[in-house]
Amino acid sequence: MLQVTDLSKTFGSGDTEVRAVDGVSFTVPTGVFAAVVGRSGSGKSTLLSLLGALDKPTSGTIEVDGEVISRGSDHQLIRYRRNQIGFVFQSYNLIPNLSAMQNVMLPMEFAGVSRRERRERAEALLDQVGLKGGKQQRRPAKLSGGEQQRVAIARALANQPKLILADEPTGNLDSKTGRVIVSLLHGLARSENTTILAVTHDLTIARRTDMTFEMEDGKLTGGHDVEDLAGASVPG
């Protein structure tokens, strides 16, 4: 479960001070695919950076499965990113000179997983996200946008994280492929019992998630929790 309490992030000081995230609090249960929607500059990407321990909050706490990650040392944050978090980026951010398989194996290498085990798991994950056979050995440049995003999702799942953070995961994809990727994420949240939080400005995607939060000027201005959506069909 992801629990955020009174989270703030301020850049600059004095007259130039900008509160990118301003007293945000919310909770996302385990196994839920949630979305944060908002316009550009609303602070959603900063929120994602804070949740992913890429940046430290000015105040407030972030708890993932009871572990407070907002006050950890740099070393602890690296370990947290390695073991508890998976990232999916808008432009995939795969390492260009590594194959799809090697890209997926990378986080496991950092976690100290044996070579044989990471190869087997990478293959299974790529199968799970629908990238099979010879494509697993292809470099990113030889894959389509949708396929690259599948590789990125498989990489995010590599170390069985408790939380997957997706930044505009369909931003570079056509609507059809985008829908497929959203469905994939949704299914994975359930099957892997992982919390997935995506930030997007695409409301059509937001509507297909279990929970949505709206963000404006660094604050959460509205949202629907999972109870509100109870009984709704799983997007597909």
């Binding site: 690296i78 990113r81 990378l106």
Partner: protein, 472 residues
């Protein structure tokens, strides 16, 4: 794939850039190696020259050059002053004398001066040079003509260090029979050169006469030099007493504690002895040669440093460019859990791969180019030096070389001071490649890689993944 493997693989990510970096680095490593080899070769040659010069200084009475000059002999008081000079380790005093064979018409000086007489026969024929030099050097009669039955006088050296190569001015001194004599003794004993011994049928224990006194042969020596093998060596006090030259010294060989102190000691002695003595060392004669070698050494040193700095700058700029180019990738690696150390090592591995390839090419190039470049450096620097110089000094006198431009030969009737050819020094500098040099080359490559990636690694640590992600 391990971090190191990824780093090695990344080195080939951009083929054209990798080839360019490797080629330029190889050139700098080759240059660094050539300069290192040159430096070692030149340093070895400088050491050789210094060793061949020796750490001795010869002090002679002002105006004296064996039997060709004049002036007043050195005194015990002057020897004491020499001994008390800084850096002086020891002083060997010598007195040169010459004996005329009894029964021959001894040449006399203009004032009727005569040499001592002996029953020994000279082992050297006078020949054209002997006749001319003795006529020119005052050995002739007042009328200027040599006697008809003239034979070369026998050179005698009285010394406190019999058996010393410095005293005899030779490269080797070997007793072929008998034993050495005590230089501080006043007994009438002698070492006889093997040619003189053969000419006069002398063996160990034989006696001969000089100044009417009987002298016992204690040993027979061989120096490999025709002139010195025809001479006699006695204890200094014995010769002084025998020839009635009490306290007289015709040369002092001063041993300095370190060859690097030769010049300063020469200056100190010149100051102390004033115009009463001539002070000479081989150091001044070899100064031009050493100066040329020092020039090469300086060029090699600066070029070596320059090459290493250039190599470091090249790899530094290349890695800086690569790090900046892969900023996003570094951010992603951090976001998915890599530590700064692992990312830095990946880039160091990449730099090591590039410099390693460059080192292999550079070392091969350096080995091929070392001697031609060294030749060019040496010949370029030797233009400022003098030509070959040959030194053959007069009896007991110091070596007196030419001022450069061609051979200068000076000849006398006493023991030769020796032979040194500094001209060969410049043409005999050769670089040799040993295992240690190859090791240095590899070490230089590693150093270049590590120094070159130090700042980029710091930059890697400073990259904040959040900022990189924000620029999407």
């Amino acid at each position: 794939m391990s971090v190191t493997t990824r780093g090695v693989k990344n080195a080939f990510r951009n083929t054209i850039r990798s080839i360019s970096i490797t080629a330029i680095l190889a050139l700098t490593i080759a240059l660094a190696l050539v300069m290192l080899l040159s430096l070692k070769a030149v340093q070895a040659r400088i050491d050789d020259v210094k060793a061949s010069v020796g750490n001795t200084i010869t002090v002679t009475p002002a105006g004296a050059r064996g039997f060709a000059g004049g002036g007043e002999p050195l005194t015990a008081a002057q020897i004491k002053k020499i001994e008390q000079t800084a850096h002086v380790k020891s002083v060997t005093s010598t007195l040169e004398d010459r004996w005329v064979t009894e029964g021959t018409d001894a040449p006399t000086g203009p004032n009727g001066e005569t040499a001592g007489s002996t029953n020994l026969q000279s082992a050297i024929d006078a020949g054209t040079l002997g006749n001319r030099n003795n006529a020119n050097s005052g050995g002739a009669t007042v009328s200027g003509n040599l006697p008809e039955n003239f034979t070369l006088p026998i050179s005698v050296t009285g010394t406190t260090a019999p058996g010393s190569t410095a005293v005899s001015g030779v490269n080797s001194f070997k007793l072929t029979a008998g034993e050495n004599i005590d230089g501080s003794s006043s007994d009438y004993v002698a070492l006889v050169g093997k040619a003189l011994a053969k000419k006069n049928n002398l063996t160990v224990g034989s006696t001969f006469t000089a100044y009417g006194q009987t002298i016992t042969v204690k040993g027979i020596y061989d120096t490999g030099n025709t002139f010195t093998n025809a001479g006699v060596i006695m204890p200094l006090s014995a010769l002084q007493k025998l020839s009635s030259q009490d306290g007289d010294i015709t040369s002092a060989i001063v041993t300095v504690d370190n060859v690097d102190h030769l010049d300063v000691t020469v200056s100190a002695l010149e100051k102390k002895l004033g115009n009463k003595a001539d002070v000479v060392s081989d150091a001044s004669a070899s100064a031009d040669t050493l100066s040329s070698l020092d020039n090469v050494k300086t060029i090699a040193t600066y070029s070596l440093i320059g090459a290493l700095v250039a190599g470091s700058v090249i790899i530094f700029l290349s890695m800086l460019m690569i790090v900046r180019e892969r900023r996003r990738e570094i951010g992603v690696l951090k976001a998915i859990g890599s530590s700064n150390a692992k990312i830095s090592w990946q880039f160091v591995s990449e730099a090591l791969t590039l410099t390693g390839m460059a080192a292999v090419i550079g070392v091969i190039g350096g080995i091929i180019l070392s001697n031609p470049v060294l030749d060019a450096l040496v010949s370029g620097s030797s233009d400022t030096g003098g030509g070959p110089q040959t030194f053959i000094a007069g009896p007991g006198g110091p070596p007196r070389g030419g001022a450069g431009g061609g051979p200068t030969i000076q000849f006398g009737g006493g023991l030769s001071r020796g032979f040194t050819n500094f001209g060969d020094v410049l043409s005999n500098v050769h670089a040799t490649i040993g295992f240690s040099i190859l090791l240095y080359g590899l070490l230089a490559a590693v150093l270049i890689a590590v120094i070159g990636t130090a700042f980029p690694s710091w930059l890697i640590a400073k990259i904040r993944p959040a900022e990189v992600m924000r620029t999407e």
